[in-house]
């Protein structure tokens, strides 16, 4: 069985969120990313790996160096995940509004 990592799981970690913020500005090598943290290189590279598995980070090869950059499409997907939840409440509240508008004249 293939174990799929969950994007929500990926962004739930504060270090991984910090990495996303860093690479959102410009593409970075793993060692440049690691320099921003107190954690070990191995720890940071594990975080990078998880983000890459979820396709939140994409890599490009530039000579011998690997650069990571943010995948905006995947970030939008996270927003799209929440949209049905928002829509559910929006529809519920629209109903509330229309019910109460009809209630008005009876008062």
């Amino acid at each position: 069985m293939e174990l799929r990592r969950d994007v929500f799981q990926a962004i739930a970690d504060p270090t991984r969120r910090a990495i996303i913020v860093l690479v959102a500005l410009h593409a970075m090598t793993p060692s440049a990313i690691a320099e921003n943290f107190d954690s070990s290189r191995q720890t940071i590279s594990k975080h990078i790996q998880i983000l890459a598995e979820c396709e939140l980070l994409e890599q490009t090869q530039n000579g011998r160096e690997i650069y990571y950059h943010l995948n905006p499409k995947k970030m939008k997907e996270i927003a799209d995940f929440i949209e049905p939840f928002r829509k559910l409440w929006d529809e519920r509240f629209n109903k509330l509004e229309s019910v109460m508008k009809k209630f008005k004249p009876k008062k």
Partner: protein
């Protein structure tokens, strides 16, 4: 026009905030939460119990179009301040989802408009994310069922 209903769910937090501005006076907005018959109309559920007082409890029941009960929800009311605030717990019976806490703040904007802020606190980040994903998952399920229905007719 911007979105009327806004959901803010910060990554890594076990809470979320839903805000909505209503084209209704504050009193009417609050009444929609207070009167069982009105709650039934807009929530599309049957109100089995709604005791609007401190330490009161509530229980709602949702049925499908055939009348089968699909979901029962319940909770306890901790605060009930008319036109201001309702604090309550929310639990879905017979589901793996654990109870969560809801703070509902009602605000007057103008004589004819009002605002509701729902602050929901879950037991864990994972639990919150599960709840957020629920309508998404149901949407996929529904689309899948619809597809099966259509496919079934084609046979």
């Amino acid at each position: 026009m911007g979105l009327k209903t806004i959901v803010s769910a910060e990554a890594g937090k076990q809470e979320l905030v839903i805000t909505r501005e209503f084209d209704l006076p504050l009193e009417l907005l609050f009444k929609a939460y207070e009167e069982p018959e009105i709650v039934e109309q807009w929530m599309g559920t049957k109100v089995l119990k709604l005791e609007n007082r401190k330490h009161g409890s509530w229980q709602f029941e949702t049925s499908d179009s055939k009348g089968n009960v699909v979901l029962r929800t319940n909770g306890t009311i901790h605060e009930f301040v008319p036109n201001q605030k309702i604090t309550r717990t929310f639990e879905m019976e017979n589901t793996p989802y654990e109870v969560h806490l809801e703070f509902l703040d009602f605000e007057k904007l103008t004589d004819d408009t009002s605002k509701l802020t729902m602050h929901i606190v879950y037991r864990s980040v994972a639990m919150r994310d599960e709840m957020l994903k629920l309508p998404f998952a149901q949407g996929i399920n529904m689309a899948h069922n619809k597809l099966q229905e259509v496919a079934g007719k084609l046979r």
